[in-house]
Symmetry: C2
Subunit: 412 residues, 2 copies
């Protein structure tokens, strides 16, 4: 008997037919004698619809009320899955985040503080299946909180950790983690095994299989994660610690995968005075209101002259970021705020990179050869990322996939 947290994404929950299929997957695990907590996302498209409603109601909406609105999507699917499982004769019921409770801090992109396992231990003791809306928590003030887009993965991993589960299975509409997006590169290969670290970079740069935070959390608790298809019955990708897959390193490519991320917007501030603390004064209000600033490039034409500062923020935070920047414009004294959402971040990721020089150089050369202009660059121990105009996305991903030797030999 194993204790497993199963998580189903929005495409898996899109409509009653699919929910019925999800229920059959849950039943299969029950028949294997496993204890199950099932975490569900809202139906595909539903959260977008709810977010859009909030935006239409007011361009700068109260995150607390936003949470009240968007929390409803997962509430619906958890109730429907519980009903469907009961219809199959299984002992299932739903538990809202505020009922367990799943304690969280903040709104709209809240952080999970603590999950009380008592209720669920009692459910398991009685042979029950718990269905839990992903993405939701409750603040210490007793208000609804949501974890930010894709937060259901994080809910699932946090729950698995709190329950000391044996594994957390993420059921989704892809059958595993690939070297890159197979819709862009038909010769992309499925990876059987990935380290948390690699997955973290792949996720954070847009391989949208798993949410970054969920992978970070799994790494911290050393919780084995399995990405597996809801729709096809075949092996997925297992994500584990570096130590667990040493054997395979011999065969490893230096680069594990190429990722892309369209959810970044570029912000450029012109005429920024060369005063001490002016850059800090720009990023402080953004950080305080929870905006994740990513790539930062500053060009100072000459000492003492006004400079140009470019950085990226998540597209969803752009309006909010611009509003925050407008507030400090007078005080700091820059000229203009220019924004561009037609950009994409493309990254090469791999733990093998640590011991290899020339990875970044190869990237710049490969892109330059195709006339692709690089707007910004960031690097880490295991990845190199560039910001490029969005129109070159597919081309850039394809040529890099080939350049790093990731193309499959033949169709697999």
């Amino acid at each position: 008997m194993a204790r497993i947290v199963m998580k189903f994404g929005g495409t898996s929950m899109a409509g009653i037919e699919r929910i019925r299929h999800v229920a059959s997957l849950v039943r299969r695990e029950t028949e294997r004698g496993n204890q199950l907590a099932v975490v569900v996302s809202a139906m595909a498209g539903e959260t977008d619809r709810l977010v859009q409603l909030c935006r239409e109601a007011a361009s700068l909406y109260d995150p607390r009320e936003y949470d009240v609105v968007v929390a409803s999507g997962e509430q619906v699917t958890s109730g429907l899955l519980a009903i469907t499982l009961q219809g199959m004769g299984l002992n299932a019921r739903s538990y809202m985040g505020w009922q367990l409770p799943i304690r969280a801090s903040g709104h709209a992109s809240a952080l999970i503080d603590h999950i009380d396992a008592d209720v669920l231990e009692r459910v398991f003791g009685e042979g029950g299946i718990a269905v839990i809306p992903g993405f939701l928590g409750v603040t210490s003030e007793g208000d609804l909180a949501t974890l930010g887009r894709g937060g259901s993965d994080t809910s699932a991993v946090a729950l698995a950790a709190a329950l000391k589960a044996d594994r957390c299975d993420i059921y989704t509409d892809v059958d595993g983690v690939y070297t890159t997006d197979p819709r862009i590169v038909p010769r992309a290969r499925k990876l059987a095994l990935v380290t948390y670290e690699e997955m973290l970079e792949l996720a954070s740069v847009g391989a949208k299989v798993l949410q970054t935070r969920s992978v970070g959390l799994a790494m911290r608790y050393n919780m084995p994660l399995q990405v597996v298809s809801s729709f096809e019955d075949k092996p997925g990708t297992l994500i584990v610690g570096d130590d667990a897959i040493e054997d395979r390193n011999m065969e490893r490519n230096v680069i594990t995968g190429i990722a892309h991320d369209k959810n970044e917007a570029m912000v450029t501030l012109t005429g920024l005075p060369d005063a001490p603390g002016s850059v800090a004064a720009i990023f402080e209000p953004l950080a305080e209101t929870g905006v994740n600033v990513d790539m930062i490039v500053q060009s100072v034409p000459r000492r003492g002259a006004p400079s140009v500062l470019t950085f990226t923020v998540p597209t969803a935070s752009l309006a909010h970021s611009v509003a925050e920047l407008q507030k400090v414009k007078e005080t700091i004294g820059f000229d203009e705020i220019v924004t561009d959402t037609d950009v994409v971040k493309v990254s090469a990721v791999g733990v093998g990179m640590r011991s290899n020089a020339g990875i970044a150089a190869k990237m710049f050369k490969t892109l330059a050869d195709r006339g692709i202009n690089i707007l910004a660059i960031t690097t880490s121990e295991i990845k190199v990322s560039v910001l490029i105009p969005e129109e070159y996305m597919e081309l850039a991903v394809r040529v890099l996939h080939t350049a790093y030797g990731l193309d499959a030999e033949d169709e697999e």
Copy 2:
């Protein structure tokens, strides 16, 4: 300064444009210096959609999980209205039923036990506006509960009573209470004043302006109710106690209005043995599971012979009722359960009826003259109702409206 509970129905909340209009009506009341609690329904069609999802998930769904699913509709609109009011610079926020709390018993058609006014008194003390999802409560076990279809009216009145409000204004898509459905009878007249008792009968027989329970509750607490249009700025209908409108009795018609109700299904049990307690044994399980049995007709061909029992239940309870009846079929020993949903209940209502004979006789004759077959009859002090085949609905309402002298003189 008055304390007012404003309630907005589904059509008033259908989409951001309409929610913005609702917000402007709330602002107007604020500008008059009134303290406001605003109760909202789900967007028109949303609850139907959610109920349908539950039905598709399992034909006999767990009411507890049903509540989890359908509660989401009001949650969404309350968050959206709070956001919109904030966008207008008003100090508003939403409070879920489980946050106040609004204590309720049961599921799917829960009853409100108690509303704690402390949180809202504090909100009013700080000059705030509270937005509250209608239709929702929380059980003593801490589970979501919904009050049954149309429950938002009941939420609003219960809240008005708990807050000792001066008035409860029900904003809806009609501009008041009419002598009958104006879509069926163009010469229907709007009533300026109706008693709770009359409204109770009009509501319970299908004048869908207000939910029955809400009127009963208003009567118990003597809470003035005002039905007013969300869309047109003109006087609505005030619903008050008998005592408050004695003056107008001189001019009153004997009949105040003609109502119809399509949400009834007819159930017929054939071959029911003439044994003591067999009728009780049929209605007991229905009552215990919360089914409201309405019109009951029993025909016994002769003493000791098996009889035919006919009664009506709300269409929504039909599947459940049949399932309950199947369980006792063996024990009681009747032959068959026949159901018919193509029926409609038509009623003539008026406090003036108390002192007038011949009201029922006029009804039967008027219908008989048009060849309309009466399937069942019930009467009360202030109404006469008949069950007829649905296809005759419009005809029956029209001829009765004329027969009781309710037609407007000229177009008003």
